[in-house]
Amino acid sequence: MEILIFSIVALIAVICSVQVIISRNPVNSALFLIATMVSLAILFILLNAPFLATIQIIVYAGAIMVLFLFVIMLLNLRRDEFGPERRRAQRFFAILFSFLLLIGITTVLTVGTFNSNQVESGWSKTIPAGVEPLAQLLFTKYLFPFELASVLLLVAIVGAVVMAKRRL
């Protein structure tokens, strides 16, 4: 059952994420990105992490992508403005960096501390799914990074206000 759901959702996720790149229409791209995020949320549920799944939908699919769409719709780009790629240099760097990224991901997956065995036996089984254990960890062990992240968000908000005020 789990395997079946996983394969269906994973297939949808892969197809949608490919569609994000190859869609000509930016709005369609955004829509496929939302679909990808929702299928990722389902994968989180399969991994016994329902909190992460709901947060994934609320934050990414529900808030960030709405803003994306908002901007795309306001700009209302026409299809013909997306001709074949004009900058050669950009293509070169794109290939270079995606290659580097591939190397990075493979390294982390093979030699890093993160490998599939550990996930299977460690994290998701010992910590019961729910809000309380996550909150426990956030407010004790990971308090400093947590607070740091909130400061980061505050800085971002202040930055956004400054950027907007300049034009007022």
Binding site: V27, F51, T54, G62, A63, V66, F70, M73, L74, V131
Partner: protein
């Protein structure tokens, strides 16, 4: 496993049918009540006191021509009504509407899914429902619908924040995100969260009205300025999908208010499901009453109110709750 699946399927089927019937009845109720508020009779011709009017409306909408205008983005245009209707439909899954009963030795919960984070699930699904409106507005390729869609997305994002924060007090006292647990925490009248969280309740009602795009927050479809807002180009069943979604959301918001603040199914003498429906209907009546009473906000007033009044108040509510709890 098999009995579980069968029971769940039966529950889904029953709740689905009842939910759709309630939407139909709600359209009738709204027209009827608005009529009486305005010293008219409302629908009277079809059936006793116009009770069969929703069926007549439904048949009419089904047989109308389904027009897809030339200049629309067809894929998104067809997708948008579905995206409004489906979230409204699947939110019902976590709302408990009665006490668990024993039947043939099986314990049956009166909720489709007793999910541990029911309320977060509702937020997640509700946050997706904004897409229907935004995409409908954009894909129609019409300036009025685009304006309606943009207004709506701005409004829904702004008020979603306050909506979520207004409920934090309830979770803090109940100590759970599970809707069944929250209902169980309100078994006595003095335990109802409307009494323990009066400010949170008021804020929730205001934000919920805004999320529903109803008067006084119905800027996205302001008839006088935007003709009809985001669904101006839609016809036939696609048009009615928006309305089904809207009324469905109205029921959801009322059901959530009942569950979180009015003690859910708790009440003396009558069976739990009846109590739930009574409280639910009271909220629906309230929303219709507001529509008959208040004029519409101006757009800048709406945004100022949302960010400068509601948001600080919700945070204040969380703060007060925390202080009281520690004392």
């Amino acid at each position: 496993m098999l009995t579980f699946i069968i029971i769940t399927l039966i529950k889904v089927l029953v709740i689905f049918v009842v939910f759709l019937l309630m939407i139909a009845l709600l359209t009738w109720l709204e027209r009827k009540l608005l009529g009486h508020f305005q010293v008219r009779l409302g629908p009277m011709r079809v059936g006793p006191h116009g009770l069969l009017q929703p069926i007549a409306d439904g048949i009419k909408l089904l047989f109308k021509e389904d027009i897809i205008p030339d200049n629309v983005n067809k894929f998104v245009y067809v997708l948008a009504p579905l995206l409004t209707f489906i979230p409204a439909l699947i939110i019902v899954a976590v709302i408990p509407f009665g006490k668990s009963i024993e039947l043939f030795g099986q314990r049956i919960d009166m909720v489709i899914s007793n999910f541990n984070m029911g309320i977060l699930y509702i937020f997640a699904v509700a946050s997706l429902s904004v897409y229907g409106i935004v995409l409908a507005g954009w894909s129609s390729n019409n300036k009025y619908s685009l304006l309606g869609g943009l207004r709506s997305s701005a409004q829904m994002i702004s008020y979603e924040v306050s909506l979520g924060l207004s409920l934090i007090g309830v979770f803090m006292i109940a100590g759970s995100l599970n809707l069944v647990d929250i209902v169980n925490a309100q078994d006595k009248l003095y335990n109802w969260f409307i009494i323990r969280q009066p400010l949170g309740f008021l804020l929730y009602l205001v934000c919920a009205t805004a999320e529903l795009n109803r008067i006084p927050f119905d800027l996205p479809e302001a008839e006088q300025e935007l003709v009809a807002g985001y669904y101006i180009e839609y016809s036939s069943m696609k048009f009615s999908m928006f309305f089904l979604g809207e009324y469905g959301n109205m029921i959801n918001v009322s059901a959530l208010a009942t569950t979180l603040f009015l003690g859910g199914w708790h009440g003396p003498f009558l069976p739990p499901v009846v109590w739930f429906l009574i409280k639910l209907t009271a909220f629906l009546f309230f929303f219709i009453w507001i529509r008959a009473t208040l004029p519409r906000f101006r757009y800048d007033q709406l945004m100022n109110f949302g960010w400068k009044v509601l948001l600080p108040l919700t945070i204040l509510n969380v703060l007060i709750t925390a202080v009281v709890m520690i004392l």
